[in-house]
Amino acid sequence: MKSSINIPIDPLHILRKKKSLKRLLLQKSGLLKKRIAILGGSTTAEIRDILEIFLLEGGIEPEFYESDYNQYYKELAFDNDQLNRFAPDVIFIHTTGVNIQDYPSLSDTREDVQKKLDAELAVYNQLWDRSSAIYGCPIIQNNFENPFLRPLGNLDFSDYRGKTSYVRALNERIAAHAQENPNFYVHDIHHLSAWLGLERWFNRKDWYSYKYALAFECIPAFAQNLSAIIKAIFGKTKKALVLDLDNTLWGGVIGDDGPDLIKIGNDSAVGEAHSELQAYLRQLRDRGIMLTVSSKNDDQNAREGFNHPHTVLKFEDFAAFRANWEPKSENIKTIAIQVNIGIDSLVFLDDNPSERELVMQQLPEVTVPDVGDDIAKYASILDRSGLFEPINISNEDLNRARYYEANATRNEMQSKFLDYGKYLDSLEMCASILPFETKNLERITQLTNKTNQFNLTTRRYTNAEIEAITQNPNMISLTGHLKDKFGDSGLVSVVIATRRGHQVEIDLWLMSCRVLKRDMELAMFDALLARARLEGSTEVVSKYLPTKKNGMVADLYSHLGFENIKTLEDGETHWRFSIPSEAALLNSHIKVNHGQ
């Protein structure tokens, strides 16, 4: 039996089989344990159970703390030893329309309504401030769905005394809070309830009988949407799409029909649907999701499709392009290596059910949505899946496509040099290596949660934890920013270390795969030693914690001249390095700036 949840989801199947699904999903290896507090404004028991299924599927094993029914305020507003001991990694506040305290009345002036809004928000502000001060973890809260009853009819929307109008104002204030607080995330049930339909969303029976503020049948979609945020916080989202061409990116078979007769663009209904899908994919690419192609075609034919006058995607938009007659599973493995990400970060999109089945069998780590054969639904199925949920929109994401283009140019250059050192010199690399700066905290958090390969300990941090490090005088933090004559690679390396007496222990050392084999790690190590020396430390100690993905750095410490002091059964290694009193720099190809 398959242990994974189909996409799109079958809500009734999940509700019915949740126990056996959980049993199967718990057998997965490498699950990340996280403590999640659910503080409800209505009953949350089933939400907890189904959320658990989606998190397990996404690689997170949750431990839950669940408040009693409608106790979210008490849990957060007062000292709470139990919650404190639980030490949540995430707090989810499950409030919905039923928790709105006071709607406007018809005799209210505009000022009265503003006061009611202020009062409503004051309660939440109190909870948010207290939670972030005491627990310091990310907070997720629902916004509000539209009211189910409209005593003012259609006027309910536009009149300032309308409930619908009031909910809109509340939601705007919640959005404003999220914009200002990177550790606060809105779970958008306003959208979800509209998508599912308010009539289905709220079932009076489930409310009167069991105090469920959303209908039982809607809980799986709710939990899926919520799990997407939690997975994004802990870096468990997908990074790239592997796309089929014929009858997926365009209608028809380009090898048979010819490049002019494929269906794309407004000339036909089918062509329009393919255009919509291409446009959606283009938007994913623009925010940093990599697009790649695996197609059974001659390479030349396949490329021709992107010269079509109505194509939205261009050949240059793809980070990898494999058009040949090899099995797709083989091409997908090659693509993963080429774009430097794990196979489990890939999503495969193909109209052909037998190709999907083959990939599922050969590469169970790849996510394969069951998109069916109706092209009109593909974009919506991807959109509902939450597979690519972004945690924020960083400049790094927006520029990612450009980094990969610059890398292609560098690779071309490299082939012209026989001496690798000379090639590195020819890049004219410049790095700035500095302690954490406030403007970079989000990017640093993002890197700690996304970097899997060049990562010695794979420790994940939240925004709040990264911020705390900058305040801690016993911790050393470094970020490395690299550019060269082909472009700016951005912030690509992070080191976090703790001083204990004469020792410095490396808690985290990671580097983006974008800058592998450029000696950036040597520059970072030089900088760490310089800092340690300045603090009077004489020794660096460190650990390598093996995962499925970080094999490339297993020997890093040995190469740097560390002494191996312990090797555990699971491959974990402990290292020691005596800091020489005189600095002898390891890096000789990158010009480094340590100043402001």
Binding site: L15, K19, D206, Y212, F216
Partner: protein, 80 residues
């Protein structure tokens, strides 16, 4: 639909939700007789029965579901 068919389908639902394939129920079975059939499971079971037989129970009917037999009666009444 005859009560035996309905019982069979309900049994399969209860087996799935409680993750117990060897569970047997009959018309006299009460929730309290069955390990794991607590209030949380009960909501899930009722909602799956509604979907399976394409029926919706009223609040009144829900309150009268003291035995599996009563549920079967309600399904027969609604689905016919």
């Amino acid at each position: 639909m005859d009560s035996k068919t309905i019982l069979g389908k309900i049994q399969s639902i209860v087996q799935d939700i409680l993750d117990n394939e060897s569970l047997n129920i009959n018309e006299q079975t009460e929730a309290t007789d069955v390990e794991g059939w607590d209030s949380l499971a009960h909501i899930n079971i009722v909602s799956q029965i509604e979907s399976e037989f394409v029926v919706r129970f009223s609040l009144d009917e829900l309150a009268r579901f003291s035995t599996v037999g009563k549920i079967i009666e309600a399904v027969q009444l609604k689905a016919s």
